[in-house]
C-alpha cells in the first residue's frame, strides 16, 4: 500500500503484531466486532479514531474475520460504511445461509451493502469447499470486492470468469469454479 501512498491500519486480536512484510501506520490488538470492550471494538470505534477520518478522505477496507463480518458490518452505521470507497470482504459460512435464521442475517447484510455498493469482483476461496444445498451449488467462502456506487459510471454485467488476475487462495489445492448462481 505504501507504494501507492496509502496509509495502512490493522486490527487483529489473534496475533501479536502485523505480519512480516506489512508495516501499517497503526496496529490495534483487538477483534472487530459488534461492541466495544477489552477484546472487541466496533468498526465505528476503529474508523473514527484514525486521523484520516477527520480529513474526510475515502478509505479502503479489507476484512477477513472468519465469520464475524455479519455481526460487525450490520452493527456499522451507514455513515461509516460510506466512508469506504472500496471494501474487500471475505465472506464465510455461506452454507449456513441454508438455515432460515442465518439467512435473515445474511440477507440483511447483503441488502445493506447493496444500498451503497456494487460488487465488481468475486472469487471463491478454494479453502472453503463447495456445497450443494437443495440443488443449489455454493462455495463455503467467497472473496468479494465492493465499490461505492458514486465511484463508477459504467455498469455492465461481467461475462468472463475467472478474471485473468485471479489465483487460487490455496496454491496447493485445485482452483474451484464459481457456480453459475454467483455469476
Amino acid at each position: 500500500m505504501s507504494k501507492y501512498g496509502i496509509n495502512s491500519h490493522q486490527a487483529d486480536f489473534s496475533v501479536g503484531g502485523p505480519p512480516h512484510g506489512f508495516s501499517p501506520l497503526s496496529f490495534t490488538k483487538k477483534y472487530i466486532g459488534a461492541y466495544d470492550d477489552d477484546v472487541y471494538m466496533t468498526m465505528e470505534s476503529w474508523v473514527t479514531r484514525q486521523w484520516e477520518y477527520d480529513l474526510g478522505r475515502d478509505l479502503i477496507l479489507q476484512m477477513d474475520i472468519e465469520g464475524a463480518e455479519y455481526s460487525s458490518l450490520l452493527a456499522t452505521p451507514d455513515r461509516i460504511l460510506k466512508r469506504f470507497r472500496i471494501i474487500v470482504l471475505e465472506m464465510h459460512g455461506l452454507q449456513d445461509w441454508a438455515q432460515s435464521s442465518f439467512y435473515e442475517i445474511a440477507s440483511s447484510l447483503i441488502n445493506k451493502l447493496s444500498q451503497s455498493f456494487i460488487v465488481v469482483h468475486n472469487h471463491p476461496n478454494n479453502h472453503g469447499g463447495m456445497f450443494n444445498i437443495n440443488g443449489f451449488e455454493m462455495p463455503g467462502t467467497i472473496e468479494i470486492t465492493l465499490l461505492r456506487k458514486d465511484r463508477c459510471k459504467v455498469i455492465e454485467k461481467t461475462e468472463v470468469f475467472p478474471h485473468h488476475l485471479d489465483a487460487p487462495c490455496g496454491p496447493q489445492l485445485p482452483e474451484v469454479v464459481l457456480p453459475d448462481g454467483f455469476r
Binding site: 501507492y4 443449489f136 468479494i144
Partner: protein, 94 residues
C-alpha cells in the same frame, strides 16, 4: 430424512433443527454477488494466493487510507448444514 432418534441426538448436542431455505431463495441472495464491470480496471494487490485481492484502480485521484481487519482464530462455532434434517447437502471438496 432423519430418524427421530437421530433428531433427538442432535438436540442433545445443542443443534437446533430449523427450517431450511429453498434453492430459489439462496439463488436470489447469491445473485447479489454477480460482479459488474465498471470503467475502472481491476488490479491485484498482494500475493497470488490467500491475502491477495483484486480491486478497482480508482486510487490515482486521491489516495485513501487502508484499514485491514483480520482474524486467524475461528470466530463462529457453526452448526454444520450436514447435520440439518431437511437439507440435502454434499461437500464437493476436490
Amino acid at each position: 430424512m432423519m430418524t427421530n432418534e437421530e433428531f433427538v441426538d442432535l438436540q442433545k448436542q445443542g443443534v437446533l433443527i430449523s427450517n431450511s431455505v429453498s434453492a430459489e431463495k439462496l439463488s436470489q441472495l447469491a445473485h447479489n454477488f454477480s460482479p459488474k464491470k465498471t470503467e475502472h480496471d481491476l488490479v491485484r494487490l498482494g500475493p497470488r494466493f490467500d491475502g491477495g485481492y483484486l480491486v478497482p484502480m480508482t486510487c490515482k485521484i486521491s489516495p485513501p487510507a487502508f484499514l485491514r481487519a483480520s482474524r486467524i482464530t475461528p470466530f463462529l462455532s457453526r452448526i454444520s448444514c450436514q447435520n440439518m434434517a431437511s437439507i440435502r447437502i454434499k461437500r464437493i471438496f476436490p
